[in-house]
């Protein structure tokens, strides 16, 4: 019986390593470090928490597997009879407690930073709709809708899927690099969530209320995300695309796109 079991286990291991090693190489398996100071902090904290868990797992499971190997009946051991030890139990209550406190300190610091929206350079109001986004540059007088551009024939498998399948929009959110952009997030109908992994910004869009978030992108580039809160039939089809450009290019873009009429006219778009 044991032989069969061992064989099973090896087969399982072999299968998993073949599958994950060769055929499935190349696709991302981790959180992106992102392109903002905050996203990097978040990434580092994620990795610290991950390795901490790995270390704890190795220690705990080594003890367990050693015990499974050494303290088995087939090796003829007679069982011990101990069943409590206040000292040991106190130790393994206190140590995790200390580890948790150590972990919560950087988390608290990052969270405080994330909540500090002061000294911003520009404000973008983001409104979620079923199923698209609306962006309004409050100071610069630009506003537009942004919705999925992937064609229906790609979704229905009649055409080959493009590189940015489901992550491409007609109008990208253009923001200047190195500037603190403050987001005001709300919704027109149900709850959505605006999320761009590379910026480490995810905030719910709640109808009737505004939420705040901010970002300061360090590198020019195109960053893609999606709606993260179930919002109905086409929840999977309302991506977010952010294009971060140098300040000068941003100003040109604003000049080309600003509307003379005040931006609040957007208010009627729900028609």
């Amino acid at each position: 019986m044991f032989a069969i079991k061992r064989l099973n286990a090896w087969l399982g291991l072999a299968f998993i390593s073949v599958v994950s090693g060769s055929a499935f190489a190349g696709q991302p398996i981790n959180m992106p470090p992102g392109v903002t100071d905050i996203s990097l902090e978040v990434y580092n904290m994620h990795m610290i928490a991950f390795w901490l868990c790995v270390v704890i797992a190795v220690v705990v499971f080594s003890a367990m597997f050693y015990s499974i190997f050494a303290h088995r009946k087939s090796r003829g051991v007679t069982p011990a009879t101990f069943h409590e030890s206040t000292t040991i139990e106190a130790i393994w209550t206190i140590i995790p407690f200390v580890v948790l406190i150590a972990l919560s300190i950087p988390a608290t610091k990052t969270l405080i930073d994330m909540y500090d929206t002061s000294d911003y350079d520009l404000t973008v109001k983001i409104t979620g709709y079923q199923w698209l986004w609306h962006y309004e540059y409050v100071e610069d007088g630009v506003d537009f809708h942004s919705k999925l551009q992937t064609s229906l024939s790609q979704i229905n498998n009649d055409e080959e899927k493009g590189e940015n399948y489901l992550l491409e929009v007609d109008n990208e959110l253009v923001i200047p690099v190195g500037k603190k952009v403050r987001f005001l997030i709300t919704s027109n109908d149900v709850i959505h969530a605006w999320w761009v992994p590379d910026l480490a910004v995810k905030k719910d869009a709640v109808p009737g209320f505004i939420n705040e978030a901010w970002t300061r992108v360090n590198e020019p580039g195109i960053y893609r995300g999606q709606c993260a809160e179930l919002c109905g039939r086409h929840h999977g089809f309302m991506p977010v695309v952010v294009r971060a450009v140098p300040e000068a290019e941003y100003q040109q873009w604003v000049a080309a796109n600003a509307k003379p009429e005040s931006a609040t006219e957007y208010a009627a778009i729900s028609e």
């Binding site: 019986m1 079991k5 099973n8 286990a9 399982g12 998993i16 499935f24 991302p28 398996i29 981790n30 959180m31 992106p32 902090e41 904290m45 994620h46 928490a49 868990c53 797992a57 705990v60 499971f61 003890a63 367990m64 015990s67 303290h71 088995r72 009946k73 007679t78 069982p79 011990a80 069943h83 030890s85 393994w92 995790p96 407690f97 948790l100 972990l103 919560s104 988390a107 608290t108 990052t110 994330m114 899927k161 399948y165 489901l166 109908d189 709850i191 969530a193 999320w195 992994p197 995810k202 905030k203 719910d204 109808p207 209320f209 939420n211 999606q226 993260a228 809160e229 179930l230 109905g232």
Partner: protein
């Protein structure tokens, strides 16, 4: 001791093929059996829903189902698995085992017991019928967040009514457990002598009584908001949609522990038997369970870190959530200390219990990561969360339930199951459960949101892998069905002790256990 009815109710063990026997039974074993079979049937239905989801996600693009139907599959799959599988299965185990473990003849409230079971088939029939209604089944997620859930068609009142029924059933089941444990213990069975399964269930029962009515209140508010003009969750009338989330998760987080605490009890029964050594730290296990139950009431908002809370709120819920790792850690350490210097054998229940410890811990680790509020902004509502809660619920709760069935099945039907089939079932389940859920960590971290019917190309390989795993896991469970039926019909006769070193009153009864457990109270050591 005889198999003839005793005590103050006059039912007899009629032929197992008589419908009347099952409809009118007030016997704790019959009702336990009904609960367990019901849970298994729901497991298959909920499993088919999961396979619909996985089939659509096998490749990018829309191939098989409409996105709206996909959403109602994710919604229903969750409701079926939580309210139809894990909760009834635990209630079934409680029914079978608690009277035997505490030396009682039956449950304290046998008629209510019958009622609380027979509500369930009607509730779930109603729930499933909504799939055929105008506008389809519920598709706003099992969390039923307004305003989205208020967009549901004709199904909404039926879904809410059926959830009321499920809640009623589990509240009655919980009242029965508390009444039984507090009043029916044999003389000498003090609280601190009770097996941990009884302890964890007692605490679970209190949790159920405390939070199921809160869910009932919340969903009633949804109903009146939609049909009777109230505006609890409507900002225009002075309400707030986020308030629903607070009410829901005030129920929802204790609910999560309702789904896992009895498994801790099961594992705490199995490990000592096969390690041939008493459970390490019995008292601290009881206190840890109590601590987890208490903490479960003050962490609910960690499900809504991104909703826009004041900084102080985020910090409070982050710290409180991280604290849960302490009592949970104590439990895992105690199990390993129980094995340490024992004399272990690895029969199927032990394998599932060991699998539980390892894979539940993986779910616990990702839970700790999720507790860190700023990092949760990246994890929230992605497949990382899906991986997390499936690790604690499938190789967690479900493995514990399966372990319990293997462990006590010889006591229930008097025959041993096939150890070879059981071990094959374990290895297949373990391989496929990891193949299904481990890759979900990867796609979640890489940025795939949950509850989407179609995804970007960089998530395709691991989704394909998960789908293969899901089909493998689903098919492996049919092996379990075959094994259980075989054991009921034939097999080596089990002794009353069954396992060499099993401790507890249930092992003093003959196998199969008599229709009424302890007509005269047993003597307690």
């Amino acid at each position: 001791m005889s198999t003839v009815a005793a005590g103050d109710h006059h039912d007899h063990p009629e032929s197992p093929y008589s419908i009347k026997r099952w409809l009118f039974t007030t016997n704790h074993k019959d009702i336990g059996t009904l609960y367990l079979w019901f849970a298994f049937i729901m497991f298959l239905i909920g499993g088919v829903m999961a396979l619909v989801i996985r089939t659509e996600l096998f490749q990018p693009g829309l191939q098989f189902v409409d996105p709206q139907f996909f959403n109602s599959m994710t919604t229903m799959h969750a409701i079926m698995m939580i309210f139809g599988v894990v909760m009834p299965a635990f209630t079934g185990l409680a029914n079978w085992l608690i009277p035997m473990m505490i030396g009682a003849p039956d449950m304290a409230l046998p008629r209510m017991n019958n009622w609380s079971f027979w509500i369930l088939p009607f509730a779930f029939a109603m729930m499933l019928s909504t799939l055929f209604m105008d506008g389809g089944g519920p598709a706003g997620g099992w969390t039923l967040y307004p305003p989205l859930t208020l967009q549901t068609g004709d199904a909404l009142p039926f879904v809410i009514l059926s959830m009321h029924f499920m809640g009623l059933s589990s509240i009655m089941g919980a009242i029965n457990v508390v009444a039984t444990v507090l009043n029916m213990r044999a003389p000498g069975m003090t609280l601190m002598k009770m097996p941990l399964f009884v302890w964890t269930w007692l605490i679970t029962a209190y949790l159920l009584i405390a939070v199921m009515p809160v869910l009932a209140g919340g969903i009633t508010m949804l109903l009146t908001d939609k049909y009777f003009g109230t505006s609890f969750f409507n900002a225009a009338g002075g309400g707030d949609p986020v308030m629903f989330q607070h009410i829901f998760w005030f129920f929802g987080h204790p609910e999560v522990y309702i789904l896992i605490l009895p498994s801790f009890g099961v594992v705490s029964s199995i490990i000592p038997t096969f390690a041939r050594k008493p459970l390490f730290g019995y008292a601290s296990m009881v206190y840890a369970t109590g601590a987890i139950a208490f903490l479960s009431f003050i962490v609910w908002a960690h499900h809504m870190f991104t909703v826009g809370m004041p900084l102080a709120g985020e910090l409070f819920f982050m710290f409180a959530t991280m604290l849960i790792a302490v009592p949970t850690g104590v439990k895992v350490f105690n199990w390993i200390a129980t094995m340490w210097r024992g004399s272990m054998t690895f029969e199927t229940p032990m394998l599932f219990a060991l699998g539980f410890i390892v894979m539940f811990s993986i779910g616990g680790f990702s839970g700790l990561m999720l507790a860190l509020a700023p990092v949760d902004f990246q994890y929230h509502d992605t497949y990382f969360v899906v991986a997390h809660f499936h690790y604690v619920l499938v190789p967690g709760s479900i493995f514990a339930i399966i372990a319990a069935v293997y462990y006590w099945l010889p006591k229930w039907c008097g025959n041993m199951y096939s150890e070879g089939l059981g071990k094959t079932h374990f290895w297949l389940s373990t391989i496929f459960v990891n193949l299904t859920f481990f890759p979900m960590h990867f796609v979640g971290l890489a940025g795939m949101p949950r509850r989407i019917p179609d995804y970007a190309l960089q998530f395709s390989d691991y989704n394909m892998m998960a789908t293969i795993g899901a089909f493998g896991f689903g098919l492996s469970q049919l092996l379990f069905l075959v094994l259980v039926i075989k054991a009921i019909r034939s097999g080596k006769k089990a002794t009353s002790q069954v396992w060499e070193d099993a401790e507890g009153l249930e092992w003093t009864l003959p196998s199969p256990a008599p229709y009424h457990s302890f007509s005269t109270p047993p003597a307690i050591k």
